[in-house]
Symmetry: D2
Subunit: 149 residues, 4 copies
């Protein structure tokens, strides 16, 4: 076996849905808007989002609230699956695990989500969250995919 | 071994800190305030918080955003440790895992956090999140505890 | 909300299958036999198994190999679901998360598994692993349940 | 931010310790020997191990026992950290999460572990497990690193 494993799933990828995400029309005041998430890149099985650190996202001791990072992960987990699902299918985040690896105090936070494994009924996704040149969080989760009823 | 395992850690528990959490003075506009989290019960190694479902917490399809539940978990993970830490110690959520088990559409969401294992340097915490009489999420996480420098 | 949350799922529970697990006829030389797992209690949505610490399960530094605890968890996750599944259904462990909380050096290791949430297609299970009166590991996982094809 | 995030930690890497792992002198009859794990590659912050599927590792229905994959993960998590730790330090797997993504029925199973984040006190590691050209499991875990007492 070679050192680096490249087993990227093959994706049918809907560019129209990708374009809708990139338009960032937003959630009309919901949690993603409060967090300030904007989608900056969409590829086959990948999606990148960013948010800007601002006072409302901090705790009293001057670090960004960990809940911002976990909510950001949850959001990206669901979103990355949409452009690769078949018409009418829907996805629901079933579970995820996140390691918080560095405090965030300023700048931009970028989350890069990638579908690592895709079956008929679920996607396993990895997420890297980066801030000021270092990893702020690392996550792995499962999205259940269902056919239309 | 008996069927039910009762190995509750023994806690030294600071009632003044507990009272501060129950006062719900809030985060002055931060994420916990956006989510509307209020602490309703504090015990030795346990803490219960609640939030009320409202339109800003929903997604476009009428379910509460999963990021609300994961941010709620992250918040409770850190908070439940404060009343049992020694003076000057601080805690940081290192990692957690959450299963989202039922959609939330209305009512109140309550999270009950319990420290299951406490060592000199970390707490392992379980969280049950309940809405309208059923479990909405189940989580398990680690809080690193550090002595003052 | 009361402090303690009791939302146990209701189970239809097959006592014949339970009895088969308790008979411990074993895996004819497989991993559960190498680990020495014996099922000691089965209830509606619960199962307890035990293994005895022995030299083959240790590492070079005299602690039980963490892989024993994680394999034990994986085994209990699948087993606890069988007595509550409908005839012809099968279960597969999809994912789990384990915290290793104390080294094991001697005695008996008991794992208590409990189905915390049961839907038509999956069970979420918690596991407590105890050794010499303290928790050695704490786990949470998902078992996917499928109808016969 | 570019699409692909490359934030590999810089490692001081002890080639002598790496060579010792590659010698595969084994655990003298313990769990790694029962599983048949052999280390096939060691790099700065990476390690690859393999095992061969054989009847003792299967369940009654002809798939490899999930416990083999989770024990394999646990083993690699600890091992990958040794060549990058300072003299006298020791590491202990604190927790990990594993998704089982495909059944294993034959051939070789290779696990590639990589340290994604390294601080003074902990390493966060990702593991990819591959069998017959597809992913069998995906994991993420934490190893606590301690200085000599």
């Amino acid at each position: 076996m070679s050192k680096s494993i490249d087993l990227k799933p093959k994706f049918e990828y809907d560019e129209q849905i990708a374009a809708r995400f990139l338009a960032n029309k937003g959630g009309a005041g919901g949690l993603p808007d409060f967090l300030g998430i904007r989608i900056t890149d969409v590829g086959p099985g990948t999606m990148t989002g960013e948010l800007t650190v601002r006072p409302e996202l901090m705790t009293g001791i001057g670090n960004m609230h960990g809940g911002v990072l976990s909510a950001f992960c949850d959001h990206m987990l669901g979103c990355v699956c949409y452009p690769v699902m078949k018409k009418g299918q829907w996805g629901a985040t079933t579970e995820f695990k996140i390691n918080l690896t560095a405090p965030v105090t300023q700048g931009t936070v970028a989350a890069h989500a990638e579908i690592i494994n895709l079956s008929r009924t679920q996607a396993v996704v990895r997420i890297d969250i980066v801030n000021e040149g270092r990893r702020a969080a690392i996550a792995q989760g499962t999205v259940t995919i269902r056919d239309p009823r």
